[in-house]
Amino acid sequence: MTIRARTMQDAKQQSHTNAELNWWIFMRISGLILIFLVLGHIYMTFVQVSESDATFDAVVNKLANPAWKFYDWLLLTLAMLHGVNGARYSIDDYVRSRPNRAWVRNTFFTVVAMIFVLGTVGLFSFNPY
């Protein structure tokens, strides 16, 4: 990623996507929504109740309600995308060599995608009653 646009032509060729702009906007919007989701979640599950109260039954009970299901899923998705993109910023900054960067990024994305699938499946597929 060297910066060597010396002419207008180069500049045009190098700037064909709005990806960075879109992610930038997404970080802000998702951040705003996450304020309510995350802080609400922490308040309800950690401050008000003990973590050890998060028993199997408690979780199961809560997730029986579709509204909570949706709340949790939105939290999961937004936090995942927001956090992963944030981590990408860091990777792009600190991992300087191009091959390494691609490698680190891809491994990271794969792992996170798996966790995301796990989380989503967990939320929706499981119905004990």
Partner: protein, 235 residues
């Protein structure tokens, strides 16, 4: 007053690593740091190497890390950074290859500068006299055109230190100067350069650039203005 001047030295022909060297210098509080460093070079160790020219903060040659912050040595008075018997430290600016002592390779910095098309573009035939521009519009370029390309900002940016391809605040300041020039016709293209993944989006608003700028340019503010301009242009 007597002060210690601690300088991070490096001679590419002798040293494998940078090392500190301390010199005792007699100086007065109103002296510039550059005066003291010159004193060391002229009367103590002539091999000490750094850039300097104008000696009053206009040419942008002598950006260095003085007492842990980027400054121009010729625009920093001793009284502002050290007391009698105290120590000042001088290191090369960060993020660029150190060539010798306080002198670094400026080419990457100027490469970034050149990449934003830092020149007026308007292919319409010019009038016989000047292109008109209101005083208010001229004022929009005031901050951007004040830049002396000293690199204090870019080399104080935590992103620039670690991310080799970030174009850096100095180049964005230059872009700002042209983007907000009502006479210029290439706003679009420059915003596109700013929209690259090496451009404005790398800035994490750390403000080191703004704090470091010897010309008091509100750099972060200009960067934010460019970010918004890119966004509105794409919207």
């Amino acid at each position: 007053m007597n002060i210690n001047v601690k300088i991070l030295r490096f001679d590419p022909e002798k040293d494998r690593k940078q090392h500190w060297e301390t010199y005792q210098v007699e100086a007065s509080p109103g002296d510039r740091v550059l005066d003291v460093i010159n004193h060391v070079k002229w009367y103590i160790d002539p091999s000490l190497t750094f850039r300097r020219s104008c000696a009053h903060g206009i040419c942008g040659s002598d950006a260095m890390l003085i007492n842990g912050r980027n400054r121009l040595a010729c625009k920093t008075l001793l009284q502002d950074v050290v007391k009698d018997g105290g120590t000042i430290t001088a290191e090369p600016i960060r993020g660029l290859k150190v060539e010798k002592d306080l002198l670094v390779d400026m080419e990457p910095f100027f490469d970034a500068y050149r990449s934003i098309m830092p020149y007026f573009i308007n292919d319409n035939p010019a009038p016989a006299a000047e292109r008109l521009q209101s005083p208010e519009d001229a004022e929009r370029m005031d901050h951007g055109s004040n830049c002396i390309l000293c690199a204090c900002c870019t080399t104080s940016c935590p992103i620039f230190w670690v991310n080799g391809s970030y174009i850096g605040p100095a180049a964005i300041v230059q872009a700002h100067r042209f983007i907000f020039d009502t006479r210029d016709a290439a706003t679009q293209q420059r915003l596109n350069v700013m929209n690259q993944n090496t451009g404005v989006w790398r800035c994490r608003t750390a403000y080191n650039c703004t704090e470091a700028c010897p010309r008091d340019i509100p750099i972060t503010q200009l960067i934010e203005e460019v970010k918004r301009a890119v966004m509105y242009q794409q919207a």
